[in-house]
């Protein structure tokens, strides 16, 4: 789901663009560390592969078919940073040359699919990709990558005041769950086929990460996604709370802007906290 221009309100797209640029820069630096700069051809051609993969239809049930989205597959083969760079490159090409997704909304689409989608796609594999639950982890990664991207996109649209009656929202959530399950199944099938061809393609997750940290991360991703959707689909509840707390006036006027500012603030705090921690451990 690529958001075109004109759907997001100015505070929303501006804030997401401002977040996406450093995130893309970070991913590019990380990817360059793993692969030296001259490996750029690899990431470019793999981007072309993901594009072309959309032409191969996977039959699922009566008369319908799905196709690969690719975030989780790339994360399991190239690593999350490189996968994020490839997905960003795909989104740029799609918005510029194929009018698929807006240019101002590029930040939103990059955060949804190339950052959140890839991270959510890699997390289960990172945690449980070594043991017996490997296939389940890959499946969960594929499903989560689509789900995270779609739910975030939906939340951004609702935050921008695009009308979504309850029935339409339920319908699109159902549609997302189905496409997420299809993506999970396709990712598992392609990865096992790849391992039959050459096992070296699929990278092994690094050992020594505690399950607790991962579980916390996964819960945080789900909570954040779910919370944003809940907060934006049920503003009445929040407004009621605000009225009871005597906060009604300042909250109602800002709505979307305040939410985005809050998310931005949290992001900045996390980045600063990360810097401090890294300096200490170094």
């Amino acid at each position: 789901m690529h958001i075109p221009d004109g759907f997001l309100t100015t505070p929303v797209w501006a804030a997401l663009d401002a977040l996406a640029l450093p995130a893309a820069g970070f991913a590019a630096r990380r990817a360059q560390r793993g692969f030296d700069e001259s490996k750029a051809p690899l990431l470019g051609v793999m981007g072309a592969f993901v594009f072309a993969a959309q032409m191969i239809n996977f039959p699922v049930g009566i008369g319908t078919s799905g196709h690969l989205v690719g975030g989780a597959l790339l994360a399991c083969t190239l690593g999350p940073a490189a996968a994020s760079v490839v997905m960003t490159a795909i989104l740029v090409i799609q918005s510029l040359l194929f009018q698929d997704g807006g240019v101002l909304a590029l930040g939103a689409n990059v955060l949804n699919m190339a950052v959140a989608g890839v991270l959510a796609g890699y997390l289960p594999y990172h945690l449980w990709g070594r043991g017996r639950g490997r296939r389940a982890a890959i499946f969960a990664g594929g499903a989560l990558s689509v789900l995270a991207g779609a739910v975030l996109a939906l939340a951004e649209l609702v935050l921008s005041g695009v009308r979504m009656p309850g029935s339409a929202l339920g319908l699109s959530l159902g549609f997302f769950v189905v496409s997420a399950l299809i993506e999970g199944a396709i990712t598992v099938a392609v990865i096992s086929a790849l391992e039959n061809i050459q096992p070296g393609f699929v990278r092994q997750p690094a050992p020594g990460h505690s399950i607790l940290v991962g579980a916390l991360g996964l819960t945080a991703v789900l909570l954040a996604a779910g919370g944003v959707v809940f907060a934006s689909t049920a503003p009445d509840g929040i407004e009621n709370l605000a009225i009871q707390a005597g906060l009604s006036k300042p909250l109602t006027g800002y709505g979307g802007g305040a939410g985005v500012a809050g998310v931005g603030l949290i992001f900045v705090l996390l980045v600063l906290g990360g810097r401090v921690l890294r300096k200490r451990s170094a």
Binding site: H2, P4, D5, G6, F7, T10, W13, L21, A24, A28, A31, Q32, E37, S38, K39, A40, P41, L42, L43, G44, V45, M46, G47, A48, F49, F51, A52, A53, M55, I56, N57, F58, P59, L68, T77, V85, V86, T88, A89, I90, V92, I93, S95, L96, L97, Q99, D100, G102, V103, L104, V162, R163, P165, A168, A189, V190, A193, L194, I197, F201
Partner: protein, 234 residues
Amino acid sequence: MRHTVVEEWSRGASLLHRRAPLAKLLPVAVFLVLLASAHRRLPWLSAGLALLLAAGFLCARLPLVAALLRAAAVLPFTGVFALISWLAGDPARAFELTAKSYLSALAVLLLVGTTPLPQLLRSLELIRVPRFLLTVIQFLYRYLFVVLDEAAHMRGAAAARGGMTFRAAAGALAVLFARSYARAEGIHHAMIARGFDGSFHPLSTHSFTARDGYFTAIAVALPVVARAAAEVLP
């Protein structure tokens, strides 16, 4: 091998094609921001901006009808949400979504239709987009149609055998993945053999001339005036 229509367009020699990439990037960015943030008198503003874009396409000697059809690629997505808004009793919002997304797509099309992608990406380097990312985009674009053709062959072959099952499709994708990977390694070796140092050097570079400066000023001023008129007029 197929090329996108847009790439053929971008090789023209009109007044717009001859401008430096930055002289087109800036006005389009201003156009997009002004359109995205507009609320007052949106129908009139959209009509004015649409005329502006049409003038741009004529000035660039690009086929207007083909461009209008190509920009319609946004309409399926927009249409769904516009329809929902309409049914929810908000026809103004339905119009807003359709007009804004369609005109934005048209503006981007005018930019990429008059600026070859390598030059456009090079000018993006000036606004601090990471160079590694831009290099990856270059490679993606360069090999997109090669890999697309390969996928089309696979699909054709599968259709000739009577269609693909789920497992066969997964196998086809795995093969496509392995071939792409091998192709990338081949490309990498060939480029190292030719002395690739990690950056591209376009054959022709535009330097930003005084003429580009005048053009930028006028092209930025036009949408600004349109928006200001929509805001100020009673």
